[in-house]
């Protein structure tokens, strides 16, 4: 596989995963914004904090204004992480590898692109239809994953794409978790009620699982356990790294180039530090340090991956 193609596939799926994560967080924020007394009182703050580079003052100006926040997050091209920009980048990557993805995937990618560029979308976001628009995007994003799964051949391209997806997913979960736990001072003993955690869990599609599997006390511990280590939760840090580990080993096995062994080794260290950890250890080391370590290592891994397999320019 051409290095350029591998690079584009990796980033195409990373961007799509980021869009997906953002949309879910926005939907939660939007719905919660209608509750008069919101448990966390944060409304758009998490989305603006995580997905934009606005300063505290600018965020304060936007966070109580639904349509302004929505427009900035979804459509503003000055915001380099807006949905529109992310989707455009994903599509540019897809366009560059059009012959390597199936026609169905390309058409879905295109559909989403035209969806975000549809005429009159900005007006609709100010009115009653905003939630319909977000829902339609989430739906398209789900379809994108489904179409990938049912049409893309398994092989090199598949491995790179999914490695990108899982890398991004792991980073998003770590960032969301970081943001919410920061409000508690990263202190497991600083108990918050379930309403505080509900928006985080909803944004990661993990609320139902939480209600089913975890007890109704020690929410801080339970949430951390689910988001970091739950083997059955598809957005946990562990799950994402475990999948990434599989795709990386497949890649390394078929591309024995210089540097691939070192790359597998350094990823293995990160993976073990999650696989063989538990909350006790995390509490001892400090949740903040732990999350920062995971994010830093993962970002470095992504950079080294590029150096090892994508160096074509």
């Amino acid at each position: 596989m051409l290095s350029r193609i591998a690079d584009s596939l990796y980033w195409m799926h990373r961007y799509m995963e980021r869009a997906d994560g953002m949309l879910r967080l926005m939907k939660t924020s939007y719905i919660l914004s209608f509750d008069k007394v919101q448990a966390s009182g944060m409304t758009w703050e998490p989305a603006l904090k995580i997905f934009t580079s606005l300063n505290q003052e600018e965020i304060a100006g936007l966070k109580q204004n639904n349509s302004a926040a929505l427009k900035y997050l979804l459509l503003d091209t000055k915001n380099t992480n807006s949905l529109k920009v992310i989707i455009t980048r994903a599509r540019e990557n897809a366009r560059g590898v059009q012959d390597q993805i199936t026609k169905e995937v390309w058409e879905q990618m295109n559909l989403i692109y035209h969806q975000v560029n549809q005429p009159g979308i900005a007006e609709k976001l100010s009115g009653q239809d905003a939630i319909l628009i977000i829902d339609a995007f989430i739906n398209s994003s789900d379809q994108f994953c489904g179409i990938l799964d049912s049409t893309m051949p398994r092989g090199q391209g598949w491995n790179y794409m999914n490695l990108g997806k899982q890398t991004e997913r792991c980073l998003l979960t770590a960032e969301f978790t970081h943001f919410y736990f920061k409000k508690t001072g990263f202190d497991f003993k600083n108990e918050q009620d379930i309403l505080f955690w509900r928006s985080l869990l909803l944004a990661l599609s993990g609320y139902e699982l939480h209600l089913k599997n975890y007890s109704n006390q020690h929410h801080n511990y339970n949430v951390a356990q689910q988001l970091l280590f739950d083997k059955n939760f598809p957005r946990s840090v562990y799950y994402a790294l475990d999948r990434a580990n599989k795709y990386l080993s497949d890649i390394a096995a078929s591309n024995p180039v210089e540097g691939s062994i070192q790359l597998s080794r350094s990823f293995g260290r990160l993976y073990s530090s999650v696989k063989f950890a538990d909350l006790e250890l995390v509490e001892r080391e400090g949740l903040e340090n732990y999350l920062t370590y995971v994010r830093k290592e993962l970002n470095e891994f992504s950079r080294d991956l590029g150096r090892t397999y994508f160096s074509y320019s």
């Binding site: 591998a6 058409e107 295109n110 024995p256």
Partner: protein, 485 residues
């Protein structure tokens, strides 16, 4: 309005050949279109038109207009009424094109080797020497099977008496074949029964024929040679076509930065290391291919590519230097080439062409400027063209100045009234001018002309300029075998 009224009210323009209708009524090859169309309402036809546009849009068959950091997607306009050519007309066209490509191939071989045709005085030496696309850098390079023109898109037009003329030869990197193929796919969706009922000849074997030819050119003895399509990248207006062809042929789509030359061999950079490339179907112009030989500022090409080509370690399609054969001034000599190399008379006639560096011919053109079209000899895509019947006085004067400054850079031809076909515009069927670009593939097993080609249509009323860059659209093109022929 009913479809019947639409068809019955279709006007034909006097002294212009219309493909669907003559003074005696609908031509036989259009009967079934007429019948089907008559049974539909205008609303249904317009619905089909809308469906066709949506199909192009959703498949990303678009080009992007960039403005202020935002790209706007446009589709090339498509008209749903097909252009129909009868089987016997087509057989004549096919023979004519095969003859022409055969001669042009021999010419290219000759001109980059012995240059007999110049020595024998058939073509003036200064005409070749002054051609900007005569490429000295490839002089003497041997190409596989002596084939230079692997893919040709020769443009034809039809005059007022129904005669097909050759308008120009495109022998470098002719584009548009993906539109020919996609137009047909769209027609299958909007008029599913018509195609089968009419015995329309098949076109979708084009990518297979091309792939077959490309594989044959591989210099290494290898059962599975590496064939790639080299694109300038996704900002090129024909990028959709590049991805389309790569996908249809199952070959890698590469950019210049994916390739490198080592020890006069070409390699592509993969995640598993370097892999040798045998055949390059390039969609990049000659001058950008190799910065070491041609334009040093080209970022699209591959440094050292020409050295590998000269050594015979890689085949490049089409060959380099073909521009000397589709130069608009050299065009006038193609009938002589056919006589010289094949000892045959030309089957599809040229349009009379006046050379502007001949004083008498230039005088004649200047006197009759309003009946002439002026073209730049090394331009394509409808750029640099002045139509004498519609240009302003000022534009004509400017053209004269330009010609006097560089007479070799221009030719003139009498304006031919292109034939018309019906198009669905503003709720009416209206006649619009068309040309025809059949695509030909030349391989070791001979020359195949895919039945049909791309019909380009000038959508503005009365306009004779069909290029997509100048407001043109396209139509599906059918070759139909009539039962009684």
């Amino acid at each position: 309005m009913t479809g019947e009224a639409l068809f019955n009210n279709y006007p034909i323009v006097p002294h212009i050949w219309d493909e669907m209708k003559s003074n005696d009524g609908i031509r036989q090859q259009y009967y079934s279109i007429y019948e089907t169309g008559s049974q539909l309402s205008l609303a249904e036809l317009e619905q089909k038109h809308k469906l066709a546009s949506e199909l192009f849009m959703s498949q990303g068959i678009t080009f992007t207009v960039y403005s202020e950091n935002e790209g706007i997607e446009r589709i090339f306009p498509f008209d749903i009424i097909p252009r129909i050519i009868t089987g016997s007309e087509w057989n004549h066209i096919e023979k004519g094109i095969q003859q022409r490509i055969k001669a042009l191939n021999l010419f290219l071989k000759d001109i980059y080797n012995e240059q007999e045709i110049v020595k024998d005085g058939v073509i003036p030496a200064d005409l070749i020497a002054s051609c900007p696309h005569f490429t000295r850098e490839v002089y003497g390079i041997k190409v596989p099977f002596d084939i230079y023109v692997h893919i040709a898109g020769i443009d034809l037009i039809r005059g007022d008496d129904g005669t097909f003329y050759i308008l120009e030869d495109n022998l470098r990197t002719p584009s548009g074949v993906s539109y020919m193929l996609e137009n047909r796919e769209v027609t299958k969706r909007i008029f599913p029964n018509l195609l089968a009922d009419n015995n329309v000849r098949m076109i979708n074997n084009y990518p297979l024929l091309l792939h077959d030819n490309l594989v044959h050119l591989a210099p290494r003895q290898n059962a599975n040679p590496t064939v790639v399509l080299l694109t300038p990248g996704m900002y090129n207006s024909a990028y959709f076509e590049h991805t389309f062809l790569a996908r249809q042929m199952g070959i890698q789509l590469v950019e210049g930065r994916d390739l490198l030359v080592d020890n006069q061999k070409v390699f592509m950079k993969t995640t598993a290391g370097l892999r040798q490339v045998d055949v390059i179907y390039r969609r990049i112009d000659d001058e950008f291919l190799d910065p070491l030989v041609f334009r040093p500022d080209s970022a699209l090409g591959v440094p050292g590519l020409i050295s590998a080509y000269r050594k015979g370690n890689v085949a490049i399609v089409n060959a380099l230097g073909n521009g000397v054969a589709d130069d608009k001034a050299v065009y006038a000599y193609v009938p002589d080439m056919i006589k010289y190399y094949l000892n045959e008379e030309i089957i599809l006639p040229n349009i009379p062409t006046y050379h502007m560096n001949n004083d008498q011919e230039r005088e004649h053109v200047f006197k009759n400027m309003h009946k002439m079209v002026i073209k730049e000899t090394n331009q394509s895509g409808g750029y640099g063209m002045v139509m004498g019947n519609s240009a302003t006085e000022a534009a004509m004067e400017k053209a004269k100045e330009n010609i006097l400054a560089n007479p070799r850079g221009f030719i003139a031809q009498p304006i031919i009234q292109l034939s018309t076909v019906p198009c669905l515009i503003d709720g009416k069927l209206q006649p619009r001018h068309v040309d025809l670009r059949p695509y030909s593939l030349c391989g070791p097993n001979g020359i195949e002309v895919v039945a049909g080609g791309l019909t380009r249509v000038a959508l503005r009323e009365g306009s004779l300029v069909v290029n997509s860059s100048q407001g043109g659209g396209s139509k599906d093109t059918w070759v139909v075998d009539m039962p009684n022929q």
